[in-house]
Amino acid sequence: MIPAVGYPDEIRALIAQLKRLPGVGPRSAERIALWLLRSRQTPSTDLATALNQAQAEIELCPVCGFFASRTAGCTLCGNSDRDVTQLCVVEQATDVLPLERTGAFRGHYHALHGRLSPLDNIGPEDLRIDTLMQRLREGFITEVILATGSDVEGEATANYLAGALGASFPGLTVTRLAQGLPAGGGLDSADDLTLLRALSGRRRLAAH
């Protein structure tokens, strides 16, 4: 009997790589792989170049935690027009984008790269809280806006930070994005108008 023929190993390897991408199932991986190969030249080599460049160039800014380029630096921290007295604390680097789209906030950002969740083994020491404290000790910041999510873990993270900041910086104003964010959701699930309202209606948090 003649064994059934499948794709050559190189194509199988490509499909296997594509399948690892988020949201790509085996069928789409196969489709994408064939499309890249059939249209030879440009799309596949452009993709490979872009991927290589992004990999080599992009890092997370050691100050704010947003995406930065190794050569051009951080577009947020490097912008001298931004208000140095206001700092907005978010869970993830990607949470900066919806807030920027509202156009209502001109201060600086600080991404924690996570939120408190004891059951997932994530404690304060796993978040970028030390770097946050360090930025505050420089003394320019007068208001911190806690823009963590409105679900249980996001709220708990905001509460924890309000307590820690209140204890270390008595003169600092600590506010929380106003209610109106969809309950149980992160920032990226809120539409721009909701976020705009939440920004303008932020409330002061008492240190506990």
Binding site: P118, L119, V152, E153, A156, T157, N159, G184
Partner: protein, 362 residues
């Protein structure tokens, strides 16, 4: 009328199912473990997005299938509920259009009361089944109930975990969760107290009605329900603060709605220890009938009654008393393994026989 047709795909043991439902009674007969209860469960999940049998959506998916689908005509609209195991779990459609807010979907849907064989636990069991009973009712009456319950349970789990984790409790972290837990906890305490206040007179009345239809004397055995809250609905924060040393020692959250309960008494004697099994069954039926009355009062429409194999277990007197007490204008979906009681009963409009996940009209 609430639900006129039901369609299933990969739900529990059903690969696919499509059956019209009668406005009055629809009866499903068959032996145990053939899928009768799953049909009632599917109706409950379609209408209320929750199962009375499990909290885990994945248990509802047929073994080996990627997800389940339930659809049906409800109050003249087509409701569809699909659940995929991988990725974006739940999708809700009203008349073919995606409904992103569960609240809108639930408002368009109907209300349900589930009556099952283990209802006896409401009287004889621990506080857990009584809290679930209040949750099932509260989720249908107050839009804020279920979100508050979900968030409360999540915050409680995190808080209890922190209390257990360290030799000396990390209060800064624990209190970050206390501050989340308290408002949700107070909301639940308040809503449950309101529920019990509304429910108690209906339960007493339903209990008297069943007893009298069963030949009991009207003056004896008054049923009473008394709420025992697990915390103060306006002082929960202070209560927890006052128990700090105890919490550090016992390593568990000592106040809050997770400790709520209500006392069921007959003539002021606790029914769990003093009532006979027969009396306890009557009380359990009364609690469910009271739920139906309350839901009708709130929505102006009789709830769908899902009656899971309860008639065979009752003695003839109690069975007939219950049949007489069931709200006449409610749609009823009934499963039964025993057929003996049916002979004395009016033939239902629709009757199906269920065998190994397939359904045939009788």
């Amino acid at each position: 009328m609430p639900i006129t047709s039901l369609r299933l795909r990969d739900f529990r043991c059903f690969e696919s199912l499509s059956c019209p439902l009668a406005p009055g009674e629809t009866l499903f007969t068959g032996d145990n473990a053939q899928g009768k209860t799953s049909i009632l469960e599917a109706v409950c999940v379609l209408l209320r997005l929750q199962s009375p049998r499990t909290l885990a959506g994945r248990e509802l998916v047929r073994f080996g299938a990627p997800g389940f689908g339930i659809a049906g005509s409800v109050n003249g609209r087509e409701l569809t509920h699909t659940h995929t195991l991988a990725g974006t779990e739940r999708r809700l459609l009203i008349d073919g259009e995606a409904s992103t807010r569960p609240g809108d979907y639930l408002a368009a849907s109907g209300l349900v009361v589930w009556m099952g064989n283990n209802d006896l636990e409401l009287v004889s069991g621990s506080g857990e089944p009584r809290r679930r009973f209040l949750d099932f009712l509260g989720s249908q009456l107050f839009p804020e109930y279920r979100p508050a319950l979900r968030a409360y349970e999540k915050a409680l789990k995190q808080r209890n975990f922190l209390l257990k984790r360290d030799a000396s409790p990390a209060w800064a972290e624990i209190d970050a969760y206390t501050a989340v837990l308290v408002p949700y906890g107070e909301t639940l305490l308040r809503l449950r107290a309101a529920l019990l206040e509304k429910l108690a007179p209906h339960a007493t009345a339903a209990h008297t009605a069943i007893r009298m239809a069963d030949g009991g004397a009207p003056a004896s055995e008054a049923l009473s329900l008394t709420f025992h809250p697990g915390g103060d609905s306006s002082q929960l924060s202070a209560q927890l603060l006052a128990r700090r040393a105890d919490e550090a020692r016992r390593r568990v959250t000592l106040h809050g709605p997770h400790r709520d309960d209500f006392l069921i008494a007959l003539d002021a004697m606790p029914a769990a220890s003093f009532a006979s099994e027969g009396q306890q069954r009557t009380i359990a039926l009364a609690l469910k009938l009271a739920q139906a009355t309350l839901l009708r009062e709130a929505r102006g429409q009789a709830p769908v009654l899902l009656l899971d194999d309860i008639f065979g277990e009752l003695d003839p007197g109690r069975r007939n008393a219950l049949l007489a007490a069931l709200p006449a204008d409610s749609q009823k979906l009934i499963t039964t393994t025993h057929l003996h009681w049916l002979e004395a009963h009016e033939r239902p409009a629709a009757r199906y026989h269920v065998v190994k996940g397939s359904v045939t009209p009788e």
